[in-house]
């Protein structure tokens, strides 16, 4: 029996307990298990020039992610999918507040890429009730730009979120956002701009994107979920979204599309975000992330 290199790689990954719960493309670009530290996930800070007062308030609210054991007041640390730690992104305790964590890379080759991650979310457990509608949404995005020698010159930003609740209603559906937000100059130097791409307006439903996720029966118990998002850097189109046992139709999906900026060539940024629907902190926990590519 002759095995080709992809079959050997696949067999080795299936035999590795850390990787066998992922379905990566041939090349693993990043495998971030937060038992090994922050793995390059940091705070998304807003742009500024001369003074921090110039920062858009939507970005000014952000703070640094944490390494968390998912500690609870009523039974102690919950722990990760495996090991003790997960990345924790937490909002401030004001309805509509958001926080974002980001990893900043560049790409080597334009081709298919796959983002896989295990996640869960909960509000701060400061009430003795289920609180299943306190987290507004969790989501993720890419911030991409074509290479400096490419014939097309675009900055492309696919945005997706699971809208868990809105104004107290338990919505539970996947959405995307393609609407561009206006750019504004930051400072007087004509070098920096800002655009609030995570502004709450302009989200659209993914067709058939309703999904009832497991949400355990008190405000401190969590269950981990799997998510996969496929994107093609050649066509700059999304090609797949899956969460647990569901695969979603992305034929109506589109990304924010902006003329290329002078300083962001080959950018491959990934970000996770969480929003709260009430005056409680909401947290998104990421156990592990696998970013892979076909090259």
């Amino acid at each position: 029996m002759t095995l080709d290199r992809h079959e050997i790689a696949s067999a080795l990954r299936l035999a590795d307990p850390a990787l066998s719960r992922f379905d990566p493309l041939p090349r693993i670009i990043a495998f971030d298990d937060f038992d090994r530290g922050f793995c390059g996930w940091t705070q998304l800070v807003g742009n500024y020039e001369d003074t921090l007062d110039a920062m858009h308030p939507g970005y000014a609210q952000h703070s640094q992610a944490m390494l968390s054991t998912l500690p609870t007041w009523d039974f102690g640390s919950h722990g990760g999918f495996d090991g003790s730690y997960a990345l924790k992104i937490a909002t401030r305790p004001q309805a509509g507040a958001r926080n974002v964590s980001i990893k900043r890379l560049t790409f080597r080759r334009r081709g298919p890429i796959r983002l896989e991650f295990y996640f869960t979310f909960k509000p701060e457990a400061n009430e003795l009730r289920l609180s299943e509608t306190d987290v507004r949404s969790i989501g993720f995005l890419y911030d991409l730009q074509t290479g400096d020698q490419d014939g097309d010159a675009w900055r492309i930003m696919p945005h997706l979120r699971f809208l868990n609740a809105l104004d107290g209603a338990h919505v539970q559906k996947w959405q995307f956002k393609r609407r561009n937000e206006p750019f504004a100059a930051v400072g007087a130097g004509n070098k920096t701009v800002t655009h609030y791409h995570l502004a709450p307006e302009g989200w659209e439903d993914i067709a058939g994107g309703g999904q009832r996720l497991c949400y355990n029966e008190i405000p401190t118990k969590v269950n981990w979920h799997y998510c996969r998002f496929d994107f093609d850097l050649v066509t700059m189109q999304a090609t797949g979204l899956a969460c647990n046992d569901r695969e979603f139709d992305l034929s109506g999906f589109d990304s924010m599309r902006i003329p290329a900026m002078r300083n962001l060539w080959c950018m491959l940024n990934l970000a996770f975000f969480v929003e709260t629907d009430t005056d409680k902190r909401a947290s998104l926990f990421i156990d592990s992330v696998c970013l892979s590519g076909d090259f």
Binding site: M55, A60, S63, M66, L67, T69, P71, T72, K88, A90
Partner: protein, 111 residues
């Protein structure tokens, strides 16, 4: 293995007046921490002192015992060291009536 180390900005360009505190920061992996407070603008009045607080759950807070002067002039930095703190950390201060301070607060944490 190198020791895990992390710098975390938990308050940036926030104006503190009256009862003020940083957002809870979870760092059970760390065995020691230094917290720095930098004044981004000259204080209004005398901002007084800040204290380190611990928590069993990130919701109920108790003074750790460390206290330090808040900075007064723009660019001035003050700090406190803390160890053996469990999981949750924050700093809190009760600024006197009429006092205000714009802060940059950074935790430096080590395993």
């Amino acid at each position: 293995m190198l020791r895990e180390s992390q710098a975390a900005v938990v308050a940036r360009n926030e104006e503190w007046r009256g009862a003020s505190a940083t957002e809870p920061y979870e760092a059970g992996w760390a065995s020691e921490a230094v917290v720095f407070v930098r004044a981004l603008k000259d204080a209004v009045g005398a901002p007084g002192r800040a204290r380190v607080e611990l928590s069993p759950d990130g919701m109920h807070w108790v003074a750790e015992g460390s206290a330090f002067d808040l900075p007064v002039r723009a660019g001035e930095v003050t700090f406190a060291r803390v160890a053996h703190f469990g999981t949750w950390l924050r700093i809190a201060a009760d600024l006197p009536e009429g006092a205000a301070l714009t802060v940059l607060v950074t935790w430096h944490l080590k395993a």
